[in-house]
Symmetry: D2
Subunit: 337 residues, 4 copies
């Protein structure tokens, strides 16, 4: 930790800072600059930096160490690769996941899966528990939905991913689901993070609407600290002043996360934009920026979808998009199956 | 719902919109303006407005009805007043809650409560389960903390409030806690909202870091729809581009919520600013803006606090503040006990 | 304009709204819904919608017409194409502009231009007047810089673009510069917008740091209303809560602007990210999303740049990037010379 | 400046940083911590910190010195007090400014000024040049407006303030106006800032919609560096994700600016909220938070205002508000005339 003093800080104030640091267990090393003095606190001790910001004569306090360790790039030599049903995410691989927003019926899911299998999709998405802003909106089929998801996927040789909303649903998800999704609203539901840290299935961790990169990686750290290293980060848009698009898809998260962490990062352009005609250009953009995967909403008949039909592609649109990104990937040194 | 057509929309496009509306159960009423045509969809039917935004010729779609009903001001004639241990929140009453961020020990809490009781505090706050960004930070005393909280409060004739983080903790909170707090990170934890909707204790619902007023009221609606009308909204700062303060305390939420809803709104200046020297001016400002209460962090010895000491007041600071806001309240037509 | 009444609005309140509308020159058409009444104000009259929001019984007021007319897609059948020195921006063409952030000397600019000409660059950028946050930072070479820019460009058969900061500089820019840039900080400098509306040179209008799509198009409208239709919009990142990157480059502006307007939209990944290693992935992403051009900072020796060296590419990096995006463009139906 | 190395940075990388620093003129002092090494760059030299962030092995770079010097609290012992027509802003004084958004006619302004003089207003505001988002909206009366403003104010023994939009208007403002306002959109119009730095009239500098505290103080520094120390900072709301209010009035700027600077800070609740019924609570809140002044829009007949009538108070509302804040000020150690 670095404590930066005011230009006019007195010797007494500097000494008080040093003594307070030492009382917390740090070694305090004082360095006088031309204008300001900096006190370098040596020691790997967890303190609240604001306690020092409030001391007289202090201008600013900087934490030198990041709080995430296991998720940090420096913690391991190579990129983490997560493999699901033969599809790889990370390093030079860009994996694809597709399916409807919500599971509505066996028929709806089966028709969609059938179309998607023709576009080489090997991982099917579908929500059984839906986090809805309104208590009066369709909340998903629940347990029944997961059973349908499993059954349809088995039919088509697919793996499945679905959003878990509460730790109490874990047994159910262990039984039916291959990859657990944690939604943006739950990115800091620490009970849930701790629980999925104890299992050994891959977890897709979506970025919270207002989460910084550091907070996002800290949430990944919660899962990894529990022993589960198969974390896939998922950018899905942040909230900004611009309300024309549902969210602002922050594609710069791709190169940033690749610098800070070894974990794979995928993009959800469906929630990230909220409108079908924006999904295609932003999917292509994500691949061109080097993302490790995409998760895209597709419905065999979006106009009749019970949920988020407006952001779901038609199967023929998905197929066209698939052909485009398959061409873009190798230009940026990536490979799509 | 109102569907606004492009200036150059064709008759065919307008008819298509009208027919699609009628297929969903609406009556479609077409009104030609000088530049644009508007289609008024009559009927109280839940649809995703984006399905209409994607139709050819459509410029914009406006939802006429708010999704919150029970929380809306128009749903009842008078302001809701929530009373806890003789302290009232709402209408002309401004209630006060104070205590440390986290319960650290019987001694710490008792000393703090003793000091606060001398400043007339009747509701004690204290966290037993702490949502921490880092998995390596102090996570609270858990069950043991709640027992200490109850015991100390009983000693001083106080009621207590504490943050519930997961629906699985509900039995525990029913036993020891008078007012449940739902934190900013859990504002859209719908499982938790549904569960606290079934009980009859008051609930303090904090505004999410990136929650609009409408989303906040929708989360209140989740609780009210379950049958629990004792919801107290709590402004605690939003995330903006400015990172100097921990959050940006949005005091305009006070007059806005009072216009939109009958529910009481209180302010948490401690989390809202994150620094002790900002807590006093912002507390006074909140009262001057007409808030229905304050929840303030106070520690008998903030420099040794295990959590958020930097934003905790010294008891003598709280006492001074109490005297100031007691003078300000009547100027704005409010009353502090 | 549409005035949406509260569910419990009285007949009297509705009539008051209708009469106030008619006093302003509108025809008021009342439409009763199941829950709410809507008053459709017919007439193309400029009023402040908040005047109606404040009337008793009113829930919301919606402006039906956009304020931009000339910039709106509906105002003309085809995409605007701006051509500069044989390079086209708009419709199926993606144009490229490159050069250093600031003009530092003849030698620096000439060396950079020499390298760029080998990568087929035909439009050279370079700042002579630099908007710097600090009054103590390098402010650019001024007039002298523009002369160097012109002379170097003529040497290499290039056209030039540079940022104009004040209307008083217009004569100078008319003499030396082919394409005027208006920077993000000046997007709402209305005096400047009006002045460049009177000339016939193309104008690159950067998006303000906190400008909505609508405000951005309104600023384009200022220029077009003066008679200059050669406006190129330039996305360069917006300010969000995330401060890791200098700004958040909002690539969804590409499909959004293409829906709302016929004007070409280009992207500035250098200012949009602020760091060299983010410029390449985001440039490729912008092309894959269908942008009409890129403006990229390149310096023959970035480590010695007087300004923004950290976000400038080395010439060899630009060349590599050029080869990548030339491959990506045709996949999305675009053409790079 | 402090260069923080990665935990696994090599000795070679550390030496490269040190040598690069010394090549720029710094003395490099290396301090090894338990986990990371920090290089303290001694010397008051202006460099772009990103140049160091890009070096291999570097995790982060921290600027130790603020770029504003004259505006910084540490630059002088006491708060700056600006006095205009007997009204003081700063230290223990809270000054008041009121008047219409725009000057519409002699009659309109005179009627408003007459009413305001009865509430003890000594400084009249009124816009002659209006920055409007739309080129088709009322742009103000221009020169004629300023003459009316001067004449009406002289009639009532008032001083005047008005917004200057361009450096070319300076002569005009020197003749007619006592206090120059620089609007939010022009906070970083550096040509204008430099010009008003050369005069000796007080300047009200509004905070830009997306300006950090540091950028705001840097803009004040531009004026002060020119020799004009009479700068009054004016908080008028920032842009956030919440669009219910026109802007989010950030009252925490009051205690923050008071910590960082000696300059007076006033609040504009009219633009900060955009709606009349929010102006009163937020004005009271600003005074309770300790602001040094308020600038409030008042119109003798807001319903007929040509501009921003919705956010203008009726004179009787202003009078009521004046009486309230006169009571609140002494509670927080301030004085209103």
């Amino acid at each position: 930790m670095l404590v930066i003093m005011n230009p006019n800080a007195t010797e007494q104030e500097i000494m008080r800072v040093a003594m307070f640091l030492e009382s917390k267990g740090f070694e305090a090393r004082i360095s006088h600059g031309e204008v300001r003095t900096v006190v370098h606190a040596i020691g790997n001790i967890d303190v609240d930096k604001r306690d020092f910001e409030l001391l007289s004569g202090v201008a600013d306090v900087i934490k030198v160490s990041t709080d995430y360790k296991l998720a940090a790039r420096v913690s391991q030599g190579q990129d983490t690769i997560v493999e699901i049903n033969g599809i790889k995410f990370g390093d030079k691989y860009t994996g694809l996941i597709a399916g409807p927003c919500a599971i509505e019926s066996y028929d709806q899911l089966d028709k969609t899966a059938q179309e998607l299998s023709e576009s080489n999709v090997k991982i099917l998405r579908g929500g059984a528990f839906k986090p809805r802003t309104s208590p009066y909106a369709f909340q998903g089929l629940g347990d029944e939905g997961l059973k349908i998801l499993r059954s349809v996927a088995d039919n088509h040789g697919m793996a499945v991913t679905s959003e878990i909303m509460d730790a109490s649903q874990l047994d159910l998800f262990m039984k039916y689901v291959d990859v657990l999704q944690i939604g943006a609203r739950n990115m800091q539901n620490y009970n849930l993070l701790k629980e999925v840290g104890k299992i050994h299935k891959p977890v897709i961790l979506k970025r919270g609407l207002a989460a910084t990169f550091e907070e996002w990686l800290m949430s990944a750290e919660y899962i990894m600290a529990g022993g589960n290293g198969k974390v896939i980060l998922c950018e899905r848009g942040i909230r900004t002043f611009e309300s024309y698009t549902r969210n602002t898809l922050d594609l710069s998260s791709i190169p940033v996360i690749k610098k800070l962490s070894h974990l794979p990062i995928i993009v959800d352009p469906s929630h990230g934009t909220g409108l079908r005609d924006k999904v295609e250009p932003m999917s292509r953009a994500a691949v061109a920026a080097g993302c490790d995967g995409l998760i895209i909403e597709v419905h065999y008949n979006p106009e009749c979808a019970l949920c988020d039909g407006a952001q779901s592609l038609y199967p023929w649109q998905y197929d066209l998009l698939y052909k485009q990104i398959k061409q873009i990937a190798p230009i940026v040194g990536k490979e799509i199956v």
